[in-house]
C-alpha cells in the first residue's frame, strides 16, 4: 500500500478556508519560512480512500475478540462517543470564566465523587493523561509527602519483579532507587522478602492487586501493614481494577494513592495507543499535594438542590469553583487533563451504576476462569488457583517439546482473526501468554476462541513448522525487527 506522500499530485487540494476579509500581512525577513513543508497534494476523495484503506489494515475491539492481558480491551460503548461530541463539551476554551464552565466542572466533580467511591479514596485529580503519567503523579505525591515531613532518608521504592515496566520507570523519573523483590512460587508477594526490604529508606511500595499474573494476593492487608509500619506509603497500580471494582476497593486494602486507567477499566477507546486518562486518587493526608486544580462546591453558593431528577436523592452543588491544593506539586500536564476521555468514562459509570459496575467485574472474572478451565486440558497454566480477570499460560513446556513458542502461538492466532494475548509478560513466567477476555464477550465468542486455541495446539503437535512461519493470511508476514532497530528509518524520504 502506498504512503500518503506517494499519492496525489501538485496542484491538487481542498477548498477549506474562507477568503481573507482583512488586509494581508505577510511575514518577511528573518522569521520567514524558506521552503514549504512537503505535505501531500490530494483531493478530498483521494484522502478519504487512503484512510479507508488504512482502516481496513487495522484491527480494533470493534473487529473481533481482543484478549490482551493487562489491557482490558472491553467494548467501547457508542453513547460515550455521543456524549463527548456534545458541543457544550467540545467547544469550550479551558481558560473561560468559571461561571461559563459549570458543565465541565460538574463532569470533573461527579467523576471524582464516583471514582473515589469505587476506589475508596478521598480526592482525585484528572490531570494525568495516561496510566504511566498517573504513576508518575502518584509517586510525586509520595515524594512531596516525605519532603514535607523533612525525611530525606526515604530514597527507595519497592516493586515486585512481576510489575509492569512503567512502575520502576516511573519511580526512576521521581529520583527513586528501585528495589525489586522476587515473587513467591505462586506469583504473590513474598512477605519475608518484603520484610527484609523495608526500612527507614522506604518511600513506598508499588503494587497491583490482583497482581500481574491475575491472582488476588490474599496477604494484601499484611503487605500494606508492613510497608506502613516502616514509614512508607502504598501505591496501587489500577490497571487491573476491572477484576475487583464493586467488590473490593484499593482504599480498603491499605493503599494510600491509586491511579486508574480510564481507557482500560472504564471503557474509553484505546485509539490505536491513546489518548487515555490516568486519574490519581489519594487519601486525605495526601490531598495538600495534588497537582492542578480540583472542582469544589462553592461554600458561598446556595444550598444544594436535587438536580438529577431521577429520584436517587443525589444532590449536586449549585455552583462550582476551582481550588488548588496548598502544597501542590504543580502541574503534570497543562489544563485539566484529557477532558473528553473523562466525559466518556463518566457516561459509562452512570450507565452502569451501582449494580452494573459489580456485574462488569464479576463477569470479567467469570469469563477469564471459564477460558482458563477450558484451555487447561492442553495448555499449561502458570498458576492453578482461581484467577481473577486474566490468567497466564506458559508455553515453556511446549518449547522444550517441539520448539513452538509463545510467539508462534500468538502469530498463529492472527490467521484466525483473533488478536493475540499479551506476549512475554509478566517477566516472571517464561514463554508467557496473558489472556484477558473482559466481561463484554459472549459465551459463543469465548467458545470459538477456545476451539481456535485447541486447533492451534493440534497444529503445534502435528506440524510445528507451520506455526514458526505464521501468520500466513495477514497483509504482511513477520517484519524484520532487527534491521528496523539497527538501521532505523523513521520517516519517509523523497528521492532527491
Amino acid at each position: 500500500m502506498k504512503l500518503v506522500f506517494e499519492k496525489g499530485s501538485a496542484g491538487r487540494g481542498l477548498n477549506l478556508i474562507r477568503g481573507c476579509d482583512v488586509p494581508r500581512v505577510s511575514l518577511d525577513g528573518e522569521h520567514k519560512r524558506e521552503t514549504p513543508p512537503r505535505l501531500p497534494h490530494m483531493s478530498e476523495n483521494e484522502i478519504s480512500r487512503h484512510y479507508t484503506q488504512l482502516a481496513k489494515r487495522s484491527h480494533g475491539v470493534n473487529d473481533g475478540f481482543y484478549p490482551l492481558g493487562s489491557c482490558t480491551m472491553k467494548y467501547n460503548p457508542k453513547v460515550n462517543e455521543e456524549a463527548a461530541a456534545l458541543k457544550g463539551f467540545r467547544c469550550v476554551h479551558p481558560l473561560q470564566p468559571t461561571d461559563t464552565l459549570q458543565g465541565s466542572m460538574e463532569v470533573l466533580y461527579l467523576a471524582e465523587k464516583y471514582l473515589c467511591e469505587i476506589t475508596g479514596m478521598d480526592a482525585m485529580t484528572f490531570q494525568p493523561a495516561a496510566g504511566a503519567h498517573g504513576e508518575f503523579t502518584g509517586l510525586l505525591l509520595i515524594k512531596a509527602y516525605h519532603v514535607h515531613r523533612k525525611d530525606d532518608r526515604r530514597t527507595k521504592i519497592i516493586v515486585p519483579d512481576s510489575a509492569h515496566g512503567t512502575n520502576p520507570a516511573s519511580a526512576s523519573m521521581c529520583g527513586y532507587e528501585v528495589i525489586s523483590i522476587p515473587s513467591r512460587e505462586d506469583g504473590c508477594v513474598d512477605l519475608e522478602q518484603l520484610r527484609a526490604a523495608v526500612g527507614e529508606d522506604t518511600a513506598g511500595l508499588m503494587l497491583t492487586n490482583p497482581n500481574t499474573v491475575g491472582l488476588f494476593d490474599k496477604n494484601i492487608l499484611e503487605i500494606t501493614r508492613i510497608v506502613h509500619e516502616a514509614g512508607g506509603l502504598c501505591y496501587y497500580d489500577g490497571a487491573n481494577l476491572n477484576a475487583v471494582m464493586g467488590i473490593v476497593r484499593p482504599g480498603d486494602m491499605g493503599f494510600d494513592v491509586v491511579h486508574l486507567n480510564l481507557h482500560k477499566t472504564f471503557s474509553t477507546p484505546h485509539g490505536g495507543g491513546g489518548p487515555g486518562s490516568g486519574p490519581v486518587g489519594c487519601k486525605e493526608f495526601l490531598m495538600p499535594y495534588l497537582p492542578g486544580v480540583r472542582v469544589a462546591a462553592d461554600p458561598a453558593g446556595e444550598a444544594a438542590i436535587d438536580k438529577t431528577g431521577d429520584g436517587a436523592g443525589d444532590k449536586s452543588p449549585a455552583r462550582y469553583i476551582f481550588e488548588r491544593a496548598p502544597e501542590s506539586i504543580g502541574d503534570v500536564k497543562q489544563f485539566y487533563g484529557n477532558f473528553l476521555v473523562v466525559v466518556k468514562a463518566l457516561t459509562y459509570i452512570m450507565s452502569l451504576g451501582r449494580e452494573g459496575i459489580r456485574e462488569a467485574s464479576s463477569n470479567a472474572v467469570l469469563n477469564a476462569n471459564y477460558m482458563k478451565v477450558k484451555l487447561s486440558d492442553v495448555y499449561d497454566m502458570a498458576y492453578n488457583e482461581t484467577c481473577m480477570h486474566e490468567f497466564v499460560m506458559s508455553l515453556e513446556g511446549m518449547k522444550h517439546k517441539n520448539g513452538v513458542t509463545a510467539m508462534d502461538i500468538a502469530k498463529a492466532l492472527l490467521d484466525y482473526g483473533i488478536h493475540p494475548p499479551t506476549m512475554y509478560f509478566p517477566l516472571i513466567v517464561h514463554e508467557a501468554l496473558m489472556v484477558e477476555p473482559t466481561e463484554t464477550e459472549s459465551k459463543e465468542t469465548l467458545d470459538e476462541a477456545i476451539q481456535v486455541f485447541h486447533k492451534i495446539y493440534e497444529t503445534a503437535m502435528a506440524s510445528p513448522e507451520e506455526l514458526h512461519s505464521a501468520p500466513h493470511t495477514t497483509p504482511i508476514g513477520r517484519p524484520d525487527e532487527v534491521t528496523a532497530a539497527r538501521k532505523p528509518v523513521l520517516r519517509y524520504t523523497w528521492e532527491s
Binding site: 478556508i17 508518575f136 491513546g274 452494573g356 464479576s362 463477569n363 525487527e481
Partner: protein, 455 residues
Amino acid sequence: MGTYVPDTKQEQQEMLREIGFNSFDEMFSHIPEEVKLKDGLDLMPGLSEQAVIGKMEDIAGKNVVFRHIFRGAGAYNHYIPAIVSSVISKEEFVTAYTPYQAEISQGILQSIFEYQTMICELTGMDASNASIYDGATAAAEAAAMCRDRKRSTVYVSGAANPGVIEVIKTYCFGSNTKVIIVPEECGVTDADALARMMKEDAQAACFYVQQPNYFGNMEDGDVLGRIVHDAGAKYIMGCNPMALGIMKTPAGYGADIAVGDGQPLGMPLAFGGPYLGFMAATAAMARKLPGRIVGETKDDKGERAFVLTLQAREQHIRREKASSNVCSNQAWCALTASVYMTAMGADGMAEAAAQCMSKAHYLRDVLKEAGLEPKHDREFFHEFVTVSPEGRCTDSNHILRALEEYGILGGLKLSDREILWCATEVNTREEMDETASIVRNVLHGECRHKEVCGS
C-alpha cells in the same frame, strides 16, 4: 441499567456451574472477607441510554459556548475540516490498541509513520516520535533528554507559556533537576541575561524558548540558539504548528529538539484535552526521544512493512533504566493531526497561518483605535498584549465582562490592565469590528457593569 455484558443471568449461571461454582460469591470466596465491600458501592443505580445521554446533555448545557473566541494562550480555535472528523471516527482507528502486533496493525503503524514524517517536514527535524500527552509534557520530556552525567540544569525562557513552565518545574521536582528562569524583557527573552547565565554555568544542559512566545512575539531565535550552543548546551524550541506554515522552522533556528502542542491541527478546544504533544529531534538526538516510534522495514517476503522500533529505549524493556516511563501516547490525536495536515496541504497551512497573522494584526489595529494600546512593539504571529488606559471602569474585568454579555470571549486577562488577545482564520472582520466597538464603549462610555467595579 446499561449493560455491555452479553450473557443473560441464566447463561452466566451455566458458565459458573461448568467451571465448578454455584454462584459468583463462591467464585470470589478466596478473597479475604475483611477487604470485601459489605454493602456494595454507594452509587446511584445505572441509567438507560436515553436517560444517560439526557443527563450528559443537561450537564453540557451548563457550559457557555461563546459565539466568537479571541482567547489563545495555549488552546486555539481553528476550523476543523469535515474530512478530519469523518476519518477519525472510523471504528478501526477508534477501537484499536497499540500496534504491537505489526502484521494486523499496518494501518495504524503506517498512519503514525506518516504523522512522524509530517512533523519532521513541519519542524525541519530529522526524526519524530509517535507523540506524547501535550506540548507542556513534551517540553518537560525534551529537557530530560538533554540531561547527562555532567549537565543537568534546565534553563527556561520567562516568556514561555506559564502553564508549560509549571509542568517543566514539576517534572524537574521529580528528577531533582534545577530549573532557572531566564527573564523576559520587552516581551521577549532577555538575550544578554541568557548569555550571562549560560556562561557562568558549566552544568547548563538546555534552554527552552517558545517561538512565537506566550505574548505572541517572535523571539530572536538565531541569536538565542548561538548563545546556547556556545555554552555547550542543547537548544529546545517550543513551536506552534500553525505558525510553521509560514514561519522559519526550529531546525532553521538551530534547535536540537522541537516540541509543541498539535491541538491547532484539527483538535477541538475541549476544555483542555485531549491535545497532542509532538517531539522531533536532530539525527544525533533521535535515540533519546521518549515514547513510541514507528520505523520502516521489510517483512519475510520483502514487502515494505512498519513496526514499533527502538523499543529497547522504552519502559517495558528498560524498566528502571528507561529515560522516561511513557507507555500510551496520543495516537488518535496524532492521526487527527495527520489528516488535518493532509487535507490542508502546504498551501492550506500557509494560507491559514497567513490569515491568522493578518486577522490578529487587524484586531490589534481596531482595538488600538478603540483605545487599547499594544504593549509590545515586536513582530508577532497571532497573539498580542494590550494595555488599557487608567480608570476604574476601563480595566480588564470591565472589558471582558462587556464582551461576555455579547457572547464574545475576549482575550485572556494577564493583569488588571493587560489582556492577551488571539485571532485565527476563524474570526471575521465583522466580529472584530463588533468587538472593537464594544471595547470603545467600555473605555469611553459609561460603566454598564457595576457588578464588576462595585460602584
